[in-house]
Amino acid sequence: MDNRNDKKPEDKRDGASQDDKPLLRKDLLAARGGLYEKIKIPLKTLDKIIYVLVGLLILAIILGIGSNR
C-alpha cells in the first residue's frame, strides 16, 4: 500500500501557513504589481470618460494654436 499521499494534506496546510507571513509583508511593503486590480468602473462609464478626455485634448490644441506670440 502506497501511503505517500497520507502526508499531503498536512504538508499543504504547513505550506499555506508558511506562505501567509510573506504574503502579509508583501501586502504592506511591496505593493508591486496589480496597479489596476482595484479599479472597478463600468466599461461604459470609462468610455464616456475617455470621450470627454479626447474632447478636452482637442479643445486644448485648438485653444493653443498660435497662442505663443
Binding site: A30, I50, I61
Partner: protein, 347 residues
C-alpha cells in the same frame, strides 16, 4: 440564414470596435499630425522628420530602459536626474583642451572616447543597482526608491558641476570635435544626412527586442510582470530578474546621457529635468501596460517617435508652452485610461 448574417455583422462590428479602442491613441495622435500637415504642409519636410526622429532618439533610448521596469509593474522617476549626472561626467571629460575654463585643466590631450562612455554607463548601472536592490530585495515601492535616488543624483550632479575650478555652476560646454562627431554627427547617404544618434537608437532597439523576445531574461521579465507569485512558483528567480532589468535600464540611461551631452552641447544642473515623464509617456503611448507583463519594443520605438512628433508639431503651430504641458498631460491620461479599459475588457 438571416440570423447567421446578423451574427456575422455583429461580430464584425464588435471586432472593428475593439480595433478602434485598442488603437484609439495611435488614431488620435495620427489625426492630430495629419491636421498639422494640413494646416502647415511644410511640417512634412524631410529635414523636419529627421529632426523629430533625432530628438526622439535619446528619449527613446531612455524609454527602452524604462519599458522593462514598467513591464515589471514598476517605474523609474530617477531617469532624468541620473541622465543629468551621467551627462555632466561625460561633458567634463570631453571638453576641448583649448578651452580655458574646462573642468579638468590637467587633461591636455583628448581622452579616449570610450572612457567617458564607460563611466556614464557605470554611473547609470550603479543607480540601477540601487533602485533594483530597493525594489527586489527591500520590497520598496519603485516610486519611493527611484524618487530618493533621483534627488541623490541631482544633488551629486549639482555638487559636481559646482566643483569647477572657476567656482561657478556654469554649464559644461565646448566639447572636442571627435566627441561631437561620434555622439552627434551625421552619416551622409547621397544628399540625406542621417544623424548617428538615430542609428544608435535603432541598434539598441534591435538588441533590446532580442533580449525581450529571444532570451530567458525576457521571458522571465514578462512572467514576473504578469504574475510575480506564479513566476516564483514556476522557478523564476524574481529578485535576479528585477535586478537585471534595472541594471540594463541603468546602462541604457548612461548611453543616452553620453549621446544627449553631444546633442545639446551644454550640460548644466538642470539637464535631464522631466526626461522621465517623456520616457514613461513614450512607453505608455507605445502600449506598455502599467498593469505589468505587457509591452513590445517596436511599440516603445513608435511611442517615442509619435510623442516627439506631437511635441514638435505643437512648437510648429506656435502653441504656448503652458498649453503644451496641458496637452501632454492629457495625452498621458488618455493613454492610461485606454490601457485600463483594455485591462477591464480582458477581465
Amino acid at each position: 440564414m438571416g440570423s447567421n448574417m446578423e451574427k456575422v455583422k455583429q461580430e464584425n462590428r464588435q471586432s472593428a470596435g475593439m480595433f478602434l479602442l485598442n488603437n484609439a491613441l495611435y488614431i488620435i495622435l495620427l489625426l492630430i499630425l495629419a491636421t498639422v500637415v494640413i494646416i502647415r504642409p511644410d511640417f512634412a519636410r524631410l529635414d523636419n522628420i529627421i529632426n523629430i526622429v533625432k530628438q526622439a532618439s535619446t528619449k527613446g533610448i531612455l524609454a527602452l530602459g524604462c519599458a522593462g521596469l514598467i513591464v515589471l509593474a514598476g517605474t523609474d522617476l530617477s531617469i532624468g536626474r541620473v541622465l543629468g549626472l551621467c551627462a555632466a561626467v561625460t561633458a567634463s571629460l570631453v571638453q576641448s583642451a583649448t578651452y580655458v575654463q574646462r573642468m579638468y585643466p590637467q587633461i591636455t590631450e583628448p581622452l579616449n572616447l570610450m572612457i567617458p562612455l564607460l563611466l556614464a554607463i557605470t554611473i547609470g548601472v550603479a543607480f540601477g543597482a540601487i533602485n533594483g536592490f530597493g525594489v527586489a530585495k527591500l520590497h520598496l515601492h519603485a516610486f519611493i526608491i527611484t524618487l530618493g535616488t533621483s534627488l541623490i543624483a541631482w544633488g551629486i550632479n549639482s555638487l559636481y558641476i559646482e566643483s569647477q575650478p572657476s567656482g561657478t555652476a556654469q554649464a559644461l560646454s565646448t566639447f572636442t570635435k571627435d566627441f561631437l562627431n561620434t555622439a552627434a554627427g551625421n552619416w551622409i547617404i547621397g544628399t540625406v544626412r542621417i544623424p548617428k544618434v538615430v542609428l544608435y537608437f535603432l541598434a539598441l532597439a534591435v538588441i533590446m527586442h532580442i533580449i525581450w523576445t529571444r532570451t530567458r531574461l525576457g521571458k522571465n521579465m514578462f512572467a514576473v510582470g504578469g504574475n510575480e507569485e506564479a513566476a516564483a512558483v514556476s522557478g523564476v528567480s524574481v529578485t535576479r530578474t528585477i535586478m537585471y532589468v534595472y541594471l540594463i535600464a541603468g546602462a541604457l540611461y548612461g548611453i543616452a546621457a553620453y549621446l544627449e551631452a553631444g546633442r545639446i552641447q551644454s550640460v548644466g544642473t538642470n539637464t535631464g529635468i522631466n526626461y522621465e515623464l517623456d520616457a514613461i509617456s513614450a512607453c505608455v503611448i507605445g502600449g506598455v501596460s502599467f498593469s505589468g507583463g505587457v509591452g513590445t519594443i517596436p511599440g516603445v520605438v513608435i511611442g517615442a517617435i509619435i510623442l516627439q512628433a506631437i511635441n514638435y508639431s505643437l512648437v510648429f503651430l506656435s502653441v504656448n508652452p503652458y498649453y503644451q504641458y496641458i496637452i501632454r498631460g492629457l495625452i498621458i491620461i488618455i493613454a492610461v485610461a485606454i490601457d485600463v479599459r483594455k485591462y477591464l475588457a480582458k477581465k
